[in-house]
Point group: D3
Chain length 263, copies 6
Amino acid sequence: MLERLLVTGAAGGIGTLLRHKLKPLAKTLRLSDVADLGHAGENEEIVPCDLADRRAVRQLVEGCDGILHLGGISLEKSFDTLLGPNIVGVYNLYEAARACGSPRILFASSNHVTGFHEQNTLLTADAKLRPDGLYGVTKCFGEAMARMYHDKFGQETAIVRIGWCAEEAQDHRKLSIWMSPDDFLSLVTCVFTVSRLGCPVIYGVSNNDTIWWDNSAVSYLGWHPKDNAAKFRDKIDAAMPRPPRDACDAVYQGGKFTIEPIH
Amino acid sequence: MLERLLVTGAAGGIGTLLRHKLKPLAKTLRLSDVADLGHAGENEEIVPCDLADRRAVRQLVEGCDGILHLGGISLEKSFDTLLGPNIVGVYNLYEAARACGSPRILFASSNHVTGFHEQNTLLTADAKLRPDGLYGVTKCFGEAMARMYHDKFGQETAIVRIGWCAEEAQDHRKLSIWMSPDDFLSLVTCVFTVSRLGCPVIYGVSNNDTIWWDNSAVSYLGWHPKDNAAKFRDKIDAAMPRPPRDACDAVYQGGKFTIEPIH
Amino acid sequence: MLERLLVTGAAGGIGTLLRHKLKPLAKTLRLSDVADLGHAGENEEIVPCDLADRRAVRQLVEGCDGILHLGGISLEKSFDTLLGPNIVGVYNLYEAARACGSPRILFASSNHVTGFHEQNTLLTADAKLRPDGLYGVTKCFGEAMARMYHDKFGQETAIVRIGWCAEEAQDHRKLSIWMSPDDFLSLVTCVFTVSRLGCPVIYGVSNNDTIWWDNSAVSYLGWHPKDNAAKFRDKIDAAMPRPPRDACDAVYQGGKFTIEPIH
Amino acid sequence: MLERLLVTGAAGGIGTLLRHKLKPLAKTLRLSDVADLGHAGENEEIVPCDLADRRAVRQLVEGCDGILHLGGISLEKSFDTLLGPNIVGVYNLYEAARACGSPRILFASSNHVTGFHEQNTLLTADAKLRPDGLYGVTKCFGEAMARMYHDKFGQETAIVRIGWCAEEAQDHRKLSIWMSPDDFLSLVTCVFTVSRLGCPVIYGVSNNDTIWWDNSAVSYLGWHPKDNAAKFRDKIDAAMPRPPRDACDAVYQGGKFTIEPIH
Amino acid sequence: MLERLLVTGAAGGIGTLLRHKLKPLAKTLRLSDVADLGHAGENEEIVPCDLADRRAVRQLVEGCDGILHLGGISLEKSFDTLLGPNIVGVYNLYEAARACGSPRILFASSNHVTGFHEQNTLLTADAKLRPDGLYGVTKCFGEAMARMYHDKFGQETAIVRIGWCAEEAQDHRKLSIWMSPDDFLSLVTCVFTVSRLGCPVIYGVSNNDTIWWDNSAVSYLGWHPKDNAAKFRDKIDAAMPRPPRDACDAVYQGGKFTIEPIH
Amino acid sequence: MLERLLVTGAAGGIGTLLRHKLKPLAKTLRLSDVADLGHAGENEEIVPCDLADRRAVRQLVEGCDGILHLGGISLEKSFDTLLGPNIVGVYNLYEAARACGSPRILFASSNHVTGFHEQNTLLTADAKLRPDGLYGVTKCFGEAMARMYHDKFGQETAIVRIGWCAEEAQDHRKLSIWMSPDDFLSLVTCVFTVSRLGCPVIYGVSNNDTIWWDNSAVSYLGWHPKDNAAKFRDKIDAAMPRPPRDACDAVYQGGKFTIEPIH
């Protein structure tokens, strides 16, 4: 059990889903975001912080022995919007961690670092980086930063390429990339309890019927996701047609991100 | 759901097993063979056709939006016997499909395209072609044809290297290659419902205890065979001795096909 | 069912665990060791033997149609201690087998032939040999001997790199390498009943939550271990702290063997 | 030195280039084609033959201890045109060889069996088959036939995927695929003099500056092509513009074959 | 021949070495830097530009049909120093290129994106990214940007992981990573004259005796470096001792960069 | 330059060939063997030693900063003959080296550790061990010992799988495996002068026309063999017939060793 687990981006979608589930992992949860986090619950600390503010990030990390880094932008946005949280912010976080005893980090990367791979390709952790937009490029940057701090300073990071973490899968593509909050929780637990983590790349996805990603390289973690997006298939089929075979949502793992404009 | 699914070779072993099971997949089943197919049932059309007859095949394919190509010879036979249905017939089918809007095809290939691999080798879709007879060579031809029509015209085909599809496994080798009719049905369903198929190679085999083939490259299809030939093991053990270790049935994946004469 | 299964090292840890379980595999169990084996039970023969004694080994193997070779030293010991049983003894065993009709052999190799691989690496049968001590080096010798007798004389051997076979896993590393006696028994059964064995490398480990080894290359054997060391996790967590991340028990697959002195 | 080397397709482009160069390889050259071969020179035999005529092929092969199989169509043609020489003819040749002591065969396959790979991909002998037309599909058939006769009957064949064998490279794509007649001759010599050939796939190409194919898997043959198409670059640059980057001649290894119609 | 080749970072080390050599490649060289470039020579344009200034970069790229992007910081520096030229600057460059018809780009990446690989490891283009400092991380970012613009917009880039480009190799590590200016020039020529470039990763290194990098994946480019750092070995041996085996200069490909502090 | 290079097996075939060539590598050559070495030349020390004598080996190694370990049996012999020099002797040598500051070792392994691979297979350092006799098995043991001392104690060893080192190649198989004494000398020089050696596997073979082994994994050593056995081909062709295709000398890399009896 951790003493104090920092959760950045705690007001975001995933942060909100996990906030209560994470309690058993640490004596104190330090929740941080630029958005409002409401009142601190039991064993919670609320520490607002702009990731681009180096000094603030340094204080944020102080005293934590684990970091769940969900912070930053997780959508395709303009470069100027991404630069602060996803580029500068990642550097700030790793420097702060280095100054504070190198607490283990789970870095929320994204399937969009490999979004231009086709859906009929099974990716392993060694898959070539093929980001599908500026957001994906910033996550490639973050992965490279994590790796460098590992090789240079021994900083451990679980690089988790999250598919789509939500209560439900809402379209056909998400049937393959959905990760239930409970499965993410069990992954977080594995990451913070394994004796030696290293700096692995992990695809964050449930045990869905249709699979694009192979996590066998990290079977040492003992993570066995239990949920399966197949239970949403009928509802999705009823709500919308399957994408035609040449639609980006059927061709590329990154789906519509591959056609988002750059600006 | 398809409008009209063409089933070639519908009077053969597999065709007969699947005829009734396929009904939910299409509004109309168009059943074809050179052998007698009996009376057309509800939602069935019977269209006799010699695959070597180009014009007839063209008419056969017209109006279908899916093709389950079980037709052709599926045993080691003389070259002259195989030439019409398995060589000329495959060309005729693909040309007809091209003229008719390129309906998706499931091509019944065979484990005999890789039959000279040893049984203690796990094959993936990339395995070297090692056909075990003329029949296997014609199936290599068919696979090459499918791939070419995919690259050149976008024709989608599921190349299914069928092990042994029957109600039962009847000898020791078949314990490893058996595919239940229900598992084949679920594969057919996956093939015709996935948004984007491409032109994958799939080993057609149930979830048997002993496995020679690795389908992880097509996990995007979401096919999870459920049956297991292990249930036939005791009956087979009682009925016949295990093959000795140097018998073709114990050495090669293709079993006795590897010692069939050529003529 | 075998006529007579020779079990060497039958008085050792694994031999003792399996002695009664092995009965269904053979009409007669020939149990051998340098240590006391007690009285022969029903269908048992007790044949004391020093593996370094060529003539004795020759007599020991005579009349057996299967060999479970658990004999030899299975701990890091001085070179002079290992030389007789693990080097000379292995040669004696294979020569005896060659003289006696080449009965199939299960050779108890060890995870210590690859003990210097890190725990966050998934090994296949092709993994580079990285022995973690003299014991591991002698097992590399045994594996090479097995392979040579296979290529040269057709001798079949299952090279089983045993993790930790015991009733219980007693520390954190063993949660990943534990093999239950029942799972070992089912492996022995597969090895002696498959029609054609060849000379495969198999990792001897149960179906644990945390996995370092990939046995998919031998899925033709149909071995499906059922037990899972995860059931011991709480007890271990209660009994001792997790090893720190830089301890040999957390870094290397071979654990403490990697720091045993050489003498 | 061979007793009698059969050269099929001897009146074709490559056959004509090699006719005189081949003399040192055999005491007698048996030249065959459906087209006129002129008068037999010294140590030459002229044997006209239609490859689709089984009986004629059987007589053609009789008495030969080596076969250079250049025969058949080597352009994209209609299926009906290709069927006789490239499908039936190949079967006839292999059956005749089997009846006549299995003389070693060099089978002229083609880069068009892999023509849909992109030019910026380095292919090895294991490259996936991606034929670029019916011609390429028939060559896939021939390769499969060669492999089957090897596995089943020990027939040795050098499968040579010829790029473009001519005195000169005449366009930009050919700078990468050109094989000089002298380099082909040295390959033929290696194939017929190595003690054990097996059934290798060899890319038939000179030592050009720009390379798409990797022959290191057959370095046991000792073939070291000496010529380099780079010497033609200036002439080609002067004669025509480089193809634009999206032209089939710049994208695909098969060049214009990829856009040839099927009929 | 290009109409106008933009050279960024033209006042830097490599830019200075190549300035005169590049003349035959383009009718006009547009030289740019934040540092002084002296007077424009014949067929030269001098356009000072700060890469972090989006509007200026847009004007800089206008009218160019090729870009040799040497600009940015090429040493380990503070994050704040690198951010403008190596992160913002790369985005600015690719956006400008997209607005200006996507002229082909040679992006000067660095061996420091893989600097934590050991010197006794042969890297291919697929090697895992292991940057050795912040500089290396920014180059990983640039490579990801190049790849994304390729997949999304068809922008072609040669990603050249430069070893050490200078007139001379001055220490033992550089004997393996040295690239002569002439060899770089021939690479630039290949990159801008090949019909189809794609987005390859190329290691920028001469034909040295000791090699850490394998460029066979880009043999389609026809680049054959001619120089060999071995000619500097005696001079280096005379000037300094070989690094001891555990010095970073002997262990890691990135040499001293691996021990540079982060700030 | 080394202070004192120990050469074991100095009276053997290779030792005799290299004795004078090695002088420039070390101030003193310490030559050792059980056979007579004649008088010590300038800068030579003669130290007779039985490798199986632990104490003697300890004294032999004392004071040396490099070891060329040619000692031991290099032919297929009885197990009892091999046991002392090739098993016990290797252990003695590594223990002595550990006690004496871990001088770098070149261990003369053999192509017979992979002798059961076929001649038409290109082996890399990762090739599966397939020893062709007891001699090969003992060399597998030595390679495992070298690797263990590297992983455990940092001992550096060049594992050189020597083909056939002699003034001349005398039969057809040796055309592929011959290593000239000069090429071996240049390898020895590379091994003892590279800053960091590690524990690589190197195939000891000249730059022959026909090649079975790929040394690209050790290109960091900068070894470029210059000689080519092709110059002996005519003489060999004149002296003896090529082996028939199914002779062990044509099938297996290990040649006749594969049919040597075991005793």
